[in-house]
Each structure stands twice: as C-alpha cells, then as structure tokens.
Symmetry: C2
C-alpha cells in the first residue's frame, strides 16, 4: 500500500495537520487554535503552514506523500469538494477547499465532514478495525453520524446519509437546531444537556452545577459532575437513554456489526454509556443485534486526523 498521507483536520476550535502511514503511525503532527475571526484564506494559510512545519520536522517533502485527506467540521458537498457551511467560522459557504488543497500540495485530495471521516477512521484504525458494517455516532455539542457499509462510507442521496441526530424522537419535543421539533439531537446533544441544566437551575434545583457561572456552563461540566451530583446524573441518564433508543432504531434498520460512540461527551464514559446501553437493550430488535458490539471510540482526541488519513488511504490509494 502506498503512503504516507497528509491528514488535515479543520475543527471548530482547532486546526490539525499530520503525516500518517498506512499502518496508522502518526509520523508527525501539529495543532493550532483557530482564530474565530479568521476568514477562509487565513485559515487555509494557517493550515498549510502547520503542514509544512510537520513536514520539515519529519525531514519530508510534499512529494514523499501519496495523497491528502481533509476532515471538515461541518457539512460538505463531497462530490463537488466544497464546503456547505461551517457552524463555527464565517465565510465558508461554497469554498472549494478540496481543490484549493490539491493545487497547493500537488497531491490528490479528498474531503468529507468530520463524522464521516471519523467513521472511516474508527473502521480503518480504531474500535471497528476489520469490520464491514459500522455505525458511528458522535456525541458532542451536536450529534452526528456516519455509516460504513461493506467496508466503504455510505453517503447516500445528496451525500447526507448518517444524520441520526436529526431522526425524530420525541413527539412535539424541543425545537432542534434544524428547525424541527423533537429530533434526537434536541434531547441528547451537548447543547440540549446545557439547556436542561439551565432550566433546572433557573427552577431552583439544588446542584453543584450552580457553582459554575451560567454563561460558562457546558456539557463537559454536566458529564464531569454526573458521578457526584444528582441533577447532572439525571441529565446524563436522560440523554444516554434517548441515545440508546435512537441507536437501537438505527441498528434494527441497518444491522451494523459494531456501533462506535465517539465525540467529546462520549469521553465521559459510563455516566453516558451506561444509560445508553440500557436504552439500546430495551429498544433494539434482539434478532438483528445478536453479536453486535457497542464500543467507545478509540481515536480520541485525534479522530479528525485519523479520519482524514483514512479518507486519503481508503478512497484515493489502491489497496494492495
């Protein structure tokens, strides 16, 4: 198998560049905080500089690399190689980032959203190594997903498959970021946990979460306090069970061999995965799920980098 490849990760709060070998060795890597005020050309420039630093440190040149993969933190038009929008940075609508990167590096390039990239990364290098059918769910500020079927990313119509966060769950439930009511994301994403914590605190709940300034309160605080604080535990329980239900439905429909749970909030471990497994067991069709493994992701905090590398290795290079 050819390689190594260049992996680029554009996230909401950080940029990362790395050189990754086909056997998942990170030969070199660098990260930088994203400047929230930067426009796409500055962000790209910062990313290229990061990549060049990594190459210099590794005594490598661009021509030593076989391809470049890009994981982007927002929806992309996979076929056109353009960004649809970025939820954290301004001005990205329609930017042809794949071709910009390809021209600048002189390498064939592939780009996908971070959930699809991470799904392929966990399949190539992580918790789902060696599996053909994988459902990846990322639990973070939002809820995303990716499907690997028959060993390849399944992108579907409009390259939008995998949107488990926006499958309907609660009749007339809370309004979601997508504008509809009661999506899984509206009751189980990080932003929903924060909304629920604030509402409980506003209502006078006794909780250690009160020690955090309301405007700083994040899902990370809820997850961290869930082992010792009743309100935080209730919020994680509820979100986890809803996630388990949403995943159970997806499994009954798709029949993956492995479900991998990634994303920042999944790092909370059993305070999320415990109720998630309970909800899953309760609602899944057992005949479909016999032998299925439900696992935490293994690539944190480098899922973007490994995901980008997996895109380049699996989609651009010939497999021996």
């Amino acid at each position: 198998m050819a390689g190594p490849v260049l992996a680029l990760d554009i996230g909401g709060t950080k940029l990362a560049a790395g050189v990754v070998s086909p056997d998942a060795e990170v030969v070199g890597e660098g990260t930088a905080a994203t400047d929230p005020a930067a426009r796409p050309p500055e962000v790209s420039e910062a990313l290229f500089e990061l990549a060049e630093q990594v190459l210099r440190r590794g005594r490598l040149q661009m021509r030593d690399l076989a391809a470049v993969g890009i994981s982007f933190g927002g929806p992309v038009d996979y076929e056109a190689g353009t960004v649809v929008t970025c939820h954290h940075l301004a001005g990205w609508e329609g930017v042809p980032l794949r071709d910009i990167v390809s021209e600048r590096t002189g390498l064939p390039a592939v780009m996908d959203n971070d959930a699809n990239a991470a799904a392929l990364g966990e399949t190539a290098f992580g918790a789902a190594r060696g599996c053909q059918h994988v459902l990846y769910v990322t639990v973070s500020t939002g809820i995303g997903g990716g499907l690997v079927l028959g060993g390849r990313l399944h992108r579907g119509l409009n390259c939008m498959a995998g949107e488990i966060g926006h499958t309907h769950l609660v009749p007339y439930g809370p309004r979601c970021t997508c504008g509809r009511l009661g999506c899984l994301e509206s009751v189980a994403a990080g932003w929903a946990m924060v909304r629920d914590a604030r509402a409980a605190l506003d209502g006078g709940a006794v909780s250690a979460l009160r020690s955090i300034p309301p405007e700083e309160l994040s899902a990370r605080h809820v997850a961290e306090m869930a082992q010792t604080d009743a309100l935080a535990e209730q919020i994680m329980d509820r979100a986890g069970e809803y996630l388990g239900l949403g995943i159970a439905r997806a499994v009954t429909l798709i029949g993956p061999q492995v479900v991998v749970i990634g994303g920042g909030i999944s790092q909370a471990g059993d305070v999320l995965l415990g109720p998630l497994r309970r909800g899953f067991e309760r609602y899944v069709m057992p005949e479909v799920a016999r032998g299925l493994r439900l696992l935490p992701g293994e690539l944190s905090p480098r899922w973007g980098l490994y995901g980008a590398a997996a895109l380049a290795l699996r989609e651009l290079l010939p497999v021996d």
Copy 2:
C-alpha cells in the same frame, strides 16, 4: 447476460413458479393455493410440479435455465440457505430449502425473505429501476423492509437488516408481534388496523365496517371503505402518518434515492399514501431528502416472482 431463470415464490397463501428472462419478460408462470395443513416436503413437491408445468407449457427444460431464485414468506438464514421460520405454515424451521431446490433442479440457487427479494425486484424491474440506493417497505399483515445500497441488497449483521417494522415508534405503545412495545408494526400494520377497527366497533362506533362479520374483518376491508367511511378513514390516516414518520427517520439515516411502498395494503393507493406522504414531509430532514422519490411499487401482484428472479439474475449470474 445469461438467462432465463426459474423464480419460485412461497407465500402465506399461495405458491408461484415462473420463468423470467433477464429483461423482465415472464416467459411462463403458474400459481397454486398453499394447503395450510401441508408439511414442507408436500409444499416443495407442489412447487416443483408447478415449475415443471410451466416449463412444459413453454417447451423448456431445466437445462435451458441459468439459475433459480427463491422468495420465502418468512425469515431465512441467507448464508446457510435455510428457513428460520414460516408464520403461516408449520414445520419449516431449519429446512435447507435452497439446497433442496438446487439439488432437484440441478441449478445454482439463492433464497431470501420476501421483503429483501421484492426490494431487489423493484430495483431490477420496477419502480426503482436504475437506482443505486433504495428503501423498500412492504405494508401488509405485517410491515417488512429491504435495503438496496450501491445496487446490491444490504443484509447486515445476521442478515437481518431492513426491519423497519420493528423500529420503536410509540413510547409504551401496543404490544407487537415481536414481544416489545410500540414498534412501527404495532401501530401501522394490517393486524394493527384490524385491532383498532374491532376496538372502535366494540366501543359502539358507527361505521360501515360493522356490516362485516367480526371474525372476517381484515385490513383490506378497512382500506376499501376508507373513501366513504369515517372510522375506516381515521384508521388509514393514523397508520399512514405513522408509516410516514417511520420512513422519514429511515430516510434521514440512510439517504435512499427512492422509497418504494409495496405489499397488499399499499394497493389501497391514496387513502394510505396521502397520510404517509404528510407524515414523511413533516418528519424527514429536508437536506437529506432533496430529490428523493416516494413511489408505490410496480410489481404487484408478482413481487414474489420478480423478486425471486432478481435474486437469481443479480446474485448468481455474471452481468455483461
């Protein structure tokens, strides 16, 4: 492309055998009612006799055929080629029907459940001709489904993918045939429509459905009377909207290009498909569904025969 192929369909109430050419011409076919008391050897014998009649009428011999496909009305172990169970006929558990058929005909054989077979049939010959990603949903006494992804049947773990009827829908809803509560099937299948109609009639509802002897009341009656009877219309509306919601979730997750609605009750047309489309539009993520077509199946009443033929043509024979 080689061919023609022998297509065998074992349903709950009838057997069918046919010879189908690669361009979907039914060269010959025959059907017979199943004897509810017959055991598997008698059923197989009746099926082989039907096949031989069809061949004789067409002046064909087994050696003129390239392969045989079998659509079975119940869960099968696709890899082993055995029947898991038949909901309508006794004694089928574990019967190695694929190999029995292959030995008897001297042809390579493939067998799958009727929903998977019909999904591939609609993709090869019917409403989803030429499509890569297809969700097929059959609405009949029960609710089944099949997924064609990248032009091939996606069977998933335990070859059980596609079970949209047993995805959870109503919290603490009615008990389902699978033993759990609130599956889509428990509120939208034919048997659920009959249950709801009986309950309303027992409660004193004024309805033309009362003219039918209670033990004979079927979903077909409800569908037929839905244009003129308020109770029947309400029952179809409710089932249709639930189906639309269940399909919207599946589409948001899988991103098919086409959803095909088949099965006996789908023949009711707009009294089912109208509310189904309303539920679908309300709950689907529009970015995923842009350009998607939601269509009635085209292969009724021969979906079993065409499905079996599609299995043989697409899975056993080389494509030119």
